[in-house]
Amino acid sequence: SQQGEEDPQALSIQEGENATMNCSYKTSINNLQWYRQNSGRGLVHLILIRSNEREKHSGRLRVTLDTSKKSSSLLITASRAADTASYFCAPFERSGGSYIPTFGRGTSLIVHP
């Protein structure tokens, strides 16, 4: 089953604008990660936020986590055409004795030059 659910499903913006994607999940987690996927390729790790953290930055990326609302957001500032890709959140949900990353359907981001 897909645990993380991203919103919106699709986002189209102009270069230089900011892009915000949201993620909701259903159960308790120990961390949440965001990944990017270009068409036809494997996923690439972007950023990790632990369950005891509320905000994290990495370059043009800013991620927030609200465990009370079971939600996270990814902000990409000053977007570029090269940011065009699908973005997935992966909450690490406890399953038995392990933490398993589960992915949602993703947000398809198109940045127009």
Partner: protein, 114 residues
């Protein structure tokens, strides 16, 4: 190797055939995950290994799916008597530790069942 390697890159199978998909994780990575990604969807969890132990196989859709990692490095996902609904990209990912390390993904194997 430098990254996670999956082979073959593409596989076409006739319905009813058995297929075997290989994953070579990054050397020294303890955790290994298999995912199935249908067109336009996100990756769906199939199974998880910690070294050679298969700790979670709750995502395997049927008993036609079988995975192994006998020596704690290379893993093979086997699908018996393939059906059209098995057509998807199969992704493998590895991580250094378990539980909260970032995943490194391979490029996947695209399986088409005719």
């Amino acid at each position: 190797g430098a990254g996670v390697s999956q082979s073959p890159r593409y596989k076409v199978a006739k319905r009813g055939q058995d297929v075997a998909l290989r994953c070579d994780p990054i050397s020294g990575h303890v955790s290994l995950f298999w995912y199935q990604q249908a067109l336009g969807q996100g990756p769906e969890f199939l199974t998880y290994f910690q070294n050679e132990a298969q700790l979670d196989k709750s995502g395997l859709p049927s008993d036609r799916f079988f995975a192994e990692r006998p020596e704690g490095s290379v893993s093979t996902l086997k699908i018996q008597r393939t059906q059209q609904e098995d057509s998807a990209v199969y992704l493998c990912a590895s991580s250094l530790e378990s539980g909260d390390e970032k995943l490194f993904f391979g490029s996947g194997t695209q399986l088409s069942v005719l």
